[in-house]
């Protein structure tokens, strides 16, 4: 059977310039930093990044922005990274803002084989521009479509060799959702345990969606 364990370099080699990436994390908490650093070291270009936020210029996804690897972000928040706002104003970075709960559901829908979801969030605001609306029992909902990515780069606390994943506290955030939505899903883990070393009740993401495992730097 395929051994999913690879090096950071092997992981990064698979990712072409222009790729659409989902990257886990919430203001850097739960972002696969080694994979992010690998992208920067390899000098990838024109990436599209789907993530909750652009973190800080020196942390997590923010480093990709600061190093100008990214042409477009689909995120809920950019307020903590002045570099994102600067590049957006300069016109070198496209920013698509999505309400956080909607972003979570769009990513999940992509991974779960749904076309999208109907949400009340954003109705009557600028978020509804260009979107279909549906009325159910007299209440309006926006049609928010599914998101997929070429690669999902996620961070887990623990994995077994098959790729069953356990996340840690607030580092969970978008990671389990993105695990399903990447055509190729690469997980950076702090702890690798033998197959059978995780209680089936405690698995957060089953191994079926994980393609490759990279060892992280445990903190």
């Amino acid at each position: 059977m395929k051994n999913k364990l690879i090096s950071v370099e092997q992981a990064i080699e698979m990712i072409p310039d222009g790729a659409v990436l989902m990257i886990g994390g919430f203001l850097g908490d739960g972002t696969p930093e080694l994979l992010v650093d690998g992208l920067i070291k390899a000098g990838k270009k024109n990436l599209t990044v789907i993530a909750n936020d652009t973190a800080f210029p020196d942390r997590g996804i923010g480093k990709l922005i600061a190093n100008k690897l990214v042409k477009k972000v689909i995120v809920s928040h950019i307020g903590t990274n002045p570099e994102t706002q600067k590049q957006m104003i300069e016109g070198t970075l496209e920013v698509e803002l999505v309400p956080q709960g909607t972003l979570a559901e769009r990513v999940r829908a992509g991974g779960f084989g749904l076309g999208g979801i109907l949400t009340p969030t954003g109705v009557g605001t600028v978020v509804e521009n260009g979107k279909q609306k549906i009325t159910i029992n007299g209440k309006e909902f926006l049609v928010e479509t599914a998101l997929k990515a070429d690669f999902a780069l996620i961070k887990a606390k623990k994995a077994d060799f098959l790729g069953n994943l356990v996340f840690n506290y607030t580092a969970r955030n978008f990671n389990p959702l993105m695990a399903f939505a990447g055509n190729v899903t690469i997980v950076e883990v702090d702890e690798l345990v033998p197959v059978g070393g995780i209680d089936p009740n405690e698995v957060h993401v089953p191994h079926a969606v994980v393609d490759y495992i990279v060892r992280g730097n445990a903190k």
């Binding site: 991974g111 779960f112 749904l114 033998p194 009740n201 089953p206 191994h207 079926a208």
Partner: protein, 224 residues
Amino acid sequence: MIQDPKIGRTVIAKRVALELKDGDIVNLGIGIPTLVANYIPKGVTVFFQSENGILGMGPAPEPGYEHPNLTNAGGSPVTFLPGAAAFDSATSFGLIRGGHVDITVLGGLQVDEEGHLANWMIPGKLIPGMGGAMDLVTGAKRVIVAMTHIEKNGASKIVKKCTLPLTSVRRVDLIVTNMAVIEVTEKGLLLKEIAPQTTLDEVLKYTEASLIVPEQVPTMPVSL
């Protein structure tokens, strides 16, 4: 044709098992598909997913080892293999609908020339409900129908056009019966293999749908 129904079912299960590749995530339906688990080729490791919320399902436990909270989609006790994971129904169908299940093997009532499957109800007669079948056929990467070629009354189950309600408009990929292996192609149903003890004439006689028949049709590589 194979006369013994039990041998016929075994042939189907053995032949379907040859379709499984190392590392595959596999969902087996109730009935003949369940038997496939008994014939996984040596050196091939597959992971069984069950829609009630488990990946890494093992065989039935020894008597006395049944646990009420570890069952398959038919409600029967099963076991965990190392690396098993449990999850809720939404996640289970996230795996299924999202294309994370490599192969699903399902029983069938009818398959037609377009590769459409009907397997969940006979109006006015049998209405068990679709359960997970519609999601499985719609979402799995590869759909294999494992069924007897004909009904008890002799009617073909491989028909020109399904008369029973469809399970999905998604075409199935492969049909494995006690008489033949048939691939669903853009051009129609392609006869790939014929079962042991079975003639081409028998296959054609018991198949209502048009078949594309190559010059050479090998025998299924399964032992009886």
